[in-house]
Symmetry: C2
Amino acid sequence: MSLSGDHYNPLIRKLEAFSPLSDEEKAAIRAAPAQLRQLGPREDLIREDDPPTGVNLVLDGLAYRYKLLPGGRRQILSWLAPGDLCDTRVFILRRMDHAIAAFVPTRFAIFNPDTIAGLGRRHPRLRRAIWWSDLVEEAITREWLVNLGQRTAVERAAHLLCEIHYRLRIVGLAGDGSFTLPVTQNELGDTLGLSTVHVNRTLQELRREGLIAQHGREIVVLDADGLRRIGGFNPNYLHPDADSEDPADDGLWAPRPG
Amino acid sequence: MSLSGDHYNPLIRKLEAFSPLSDEEKAAIRAAPAQLRQLGPREDLIREDDPPTGVNLVLDGLAYRYKLLPGGRRQILSWLAPGDLCDTRVFILRRMDHAIAAFVPTRFAIFNPDTIAGLGRRHPRLRRAIWWSDLVEEAITREWLVNLGQRTAVERAAHLLCEIHYRLRIVGLAGDGSFTLPVTQNELGDTLGLSTVHVNRTLQELRREGLIAQHGREIVVLDADGLRRIGGFNPNYLHPDADSEDPADDGLWAPRPG
DNA sequence: CCATCGACCTAACAAAGGTGAATTCGAGGC
DNA sequence: GCCTCGAATTCACCTTTGTTAGGTCGATGG
């Protein structure tokens, strides 16, 4: 398949948060051949020690990277939202050092690394945008390290909610006031390095303070500023800035004429 | 300057852990023009919000990435050892989302991004090796997330010691039995997400269990297996495997003939 | 209607780790 | 040899978070 039939392509939406794309660039993305893979809830896309397969793009749903430890412990390393393009270079490695799975039914487009390479080669602005999305993923991981290392339970939870709300808004999956958080408290705990019981206490505190309300799996943000303040959330690490360079001048890592 | 005068180039040593390099490839690295920067202890190379400058290579000493939080909290995000090539693509971003500083007097070679791009363009095997070192840095950050999220203080410390010992050995800066850990307990705490007092208790426990001994800043590994077991250290995430691909066949992201 | 199952929630208690304030140690400078 | 200073160490106490165990609720299926 290719993505050409998709009325709505979340990758385009995501990359345009960095740099506007021409019709030709968008068409190139839509025309890129990909394999479609549909996962049910809690199903693995790829496991630790498996050889990497391709470049994964989340189309809808919600996925996560994780690592298991002896004793049944699990750390969730990142959340992958629609529009997130994962592992653009991981084919270099012999095997995965972590696994990827879906929280809820999730569709992936799986590209051959050559396909992504070709897009970058033919469209310098796409190459820059893809690198930007790689760099943002790395920055998110670092910020999560800050979260686990320095923040209290309430701060961690508030920070995560701000980040997810922000990321979902970029791809049009959340409004200003609310969003869907399709994960259990146990999964939140494995994300935040907290026990399920303490996640429960922590969410209660956020509700008691009037920062959020929950209706099922819908999170209503009652006090966005307060949530940001508690979590110490500063979106700079998501690098929302529009691209500043003229891509025509950008020959980095690209073939040189002659 | 270039690195040509350096009798010993830690980048070559590091990259050869992935893939053996030809004399021509090594010569290309040595000939790459770079700016030398020498930092004193606790001095910053670059601060959060600064625009990225270039691609940084640690030549000797020991450096770290970190992020500050209100209230004087600090999380150290990674340690940068000699041979670590940092931020090969960060020039894409407008500003740094974290800072880099030195633990001890440290020398850096700072490359123009174009220089690194050129190396990769002309030497496919170098490009692969540099990507590998990027991917390993990302994997280390993920493993640190596991460390902070799931492991107890003693486990965290043991894991960090195993990792650092391993990484220093790769570049010939440690033998099997001991290595230098030139950081204070306060800095260890900001790395491990622990208070200084608790780092002290934790190191005492590792000594009491006969796993390590300390002579000043020298760590003597008395029971390497025990330390690995306690820390749950599995070096797979450092991807020590030699490269398996024939670089001649590797045209990914590279200019295509014709 | 009833049984089942997963998720959410609660409570009592235990353990890990943080805090603030000394005190000791050790290397370098005089 | 003595002083100084940062780092390591110790202590008493406290807070946060984990653990174990149970209970409630709602959706699903027989």
